[in-house]
Amino acid sequence: MNPMLNLWLIPILPLAGAAINGFLGKKSSRQAVTTIALFFSAAAFAMALWVAMRFSSLSLPYHEYLAHWIRSGSFSVDFEFYLDQLSLVMLLVVSGVGFLIHIYSVGYMWDDPSYYRFFTYLNLFMFFMLTLILAGNYLQMFIGWEGVGLASYLLIGFWFTKDSAASAGKKAFIVNRIGDFGFLIALFLIIKHFGSLNFDRVFQSVLPLGAETATAGLLTAIGILLMVGAAGKSAQIPLYVWLPDAMEGPTPVSALIHAATMVTAGVYMVSRSHMIFERAPMALTVVAIIGTLTAFFAATIGITQTDIKKVLAYSTVSQLGYMFMACGVGAFSAGIFHLMTHAFFKGLLFLAAGSVIHAVGGEQDMRKMGGLRTKIPWTFWTMTAGTLAIAGIPGLAGFFSKDEILWRAYEASWVYWLVGLVTAFVTSFYMFRLWFMTFFGEYRGEAESGHGGLSAHDAHGAHGHGGIHESPRVMVIPLVILAILSVVGGYVGVPGSLGGSNHFDKFLGPVFHAGAPAGVQNAVGEKSASEQETEGPEPKTGASTELLFTGISVLAALLGFTLAWQLYYRNPQLPAKIAASMQGAYQALAHKYYVDEFYGAFLVKPLIEGSTRILWQGVDRKIIDAAVNDAGDGARHLSDEARHMQSGNIRSYAGWIAAGSAVVIAFMVWMAVSR
């Protein structure tokens, strides 16, 4: 029997912090708010560490039942928690990175008038995210899912007096909702066919089922619908449009929610449901295609963006695409590995970007930056670490995780691998472009002398700058910690071909390899049963081939670096000339392929028009209001007619009586006669 770990405390602690700050924070001092917020998120992280230390003595998976929830006929759902290797990894990443970002936010948001509200929402987010991760059934996960969506809306629209921020929050929530619709339908299907939403029960029921290869069946439907939900939450095609707009929120929000944790919820959900996906190859293919396409697509948009946060936003979408690509080819542990390293380096990149923005007094346009490397050295070096990591330079975390994905993708189809490779090149290019534009060359902005109107994007207007300066220690320390993690974080997953023993994969092994369906080994994408029998299991074909591919991807990364170096350091006028000569392509990229405009014209506008004309004027006014009004009018008219009966004229009364009695007589006669 397992000892009681009291897992429920982990989400509840941040909730307590949110409640305290939410109700009392307005009147409390900044120090008090800070203490509460940091204490509770630190407590959650500390508990996560404590659970990790006891982990090896547990028999897995660990269940913790908290309370009854729904008991309806034969269907029941309870508040329960679930711990296995997968959720432990997520737990540590989320609580750890979350805690670091809490610390960072103290410095970043210090001057904001709604300081307490920020930490309330931040703690609230932690509560929901931890609920999502530790949930023992799909419904509880869905609570967390919806909750992080809510927290995201609140935090994106944190400066709600700004129109663009409020709209961005709305957009995020609504697009998320569309994905949630797919998730819900998947849940309904699961309830209908497996009778429960509890992970263990569902997966036990799924275990004996074979893979649906030829015909699309129930599991394929569930898988695709789950992917729709994941696409909404994790910003994949076609529901990614909210993420770039979400950059309206404060930078720590972008770091925490839209890089390290919330957007990874989709990947976590898909990995958790791996048993379903492994038995629905078509759904897996859909996942892989969406992931690959998104990765490439978003990376190309990132080339032309001029706002530093937008580049990172598209980069996030692209990297999430990699994670889904990994899941789609069955390499779930590779996807989670990349999730972890991405949390480190993307969180770092966002926080560093925040530091840069803070330094230049609120400016986010890279064209107005430059030459900052001497002025903000700590930020520079940590950001360099992050950039190297994401580009996949050997030795840093991103290298190992990205490479493993590319390798496993190749095993499924060389197309995935090729697109992934090109995307890696593009990734390296736009990241180094960002790096060069921000830190090298001549400073092109205005923050050297006093402020003026540069505080458009941030709460830093009232700062009293006096020039570009490094961020306070409370902001730099998390940067350093994340930089260290970006460097060493990958070493848990060093593959065999490079001399390591891939601890990470082995650690997650029991989760992902337990439920492979009959006849499918390691669930690679689209192979038919006969092909598999002849080819046999092929996790790693040969160490030398893998090394070859590794070398190719390093080459791609270096190529990207070189191109960026050329265009943004050596010949800074070149990019403008290239853009001018490829106007069409450039405009398409700069306008994000006009996707937002497309959605606006074909989805949003018809919806609004339809709502206005049909639902509001037609149904609401003409039918519902009319029904109510006409009921009243009708009653009035009826009584208007009826009152004429009261004429005061005796003879008419007598007439009515005579007529009525004739009716009664007739009735009685009829009764008597028909007997």
Partner: protein
């Protein structure tokens, strides 16, 4: 040897005449008289049935009906006089103050 039904038909005829008078006439006194006519018709049918079944109680009932009719006539006429004093008319159509 008169068939019972003749008596009943006559009674019904009288009653119908009474109701018609009530509906058609405009003078309030005439309306009252039609009411008396109705009552008479009913009395006749009571007596006819009493004779048919050789029961005496029918006659007694007629007696009471007459008493009540007399009382009602008295009071009704008093009311008419009172109304006439205020409205100066005996036309029932003009006594319609209870109109909605």
């Amino acid at each position: 040897m008169v068939p019972l039904s003749y008596y009943l038909l006559l009674s019904g005829f009288l009653f119908a005449c009474g109701v018609l008078g009530f509906l058609i006439k405009r003078n309030i006194i005439t309306i009252f008289m039609s009411i008396e006519l109705m009552l008479n018709g009913v009395n006749l049918s009571f007596v006819a049935f009493a004779a048919h079944w050789h029961v005496l109680a029918g006659q007694i009932f007629v007696f009471f009906v007459m008493v009540v009719a007399a009382a009602e006539a008295a009071v009704g006429l008093a009311i008419i006089i009172a109304v006439y004093r205020t409205r100066e008319t005996l036309n029932v159509d003009q006594v319609n103050l209870l109109k909605l």
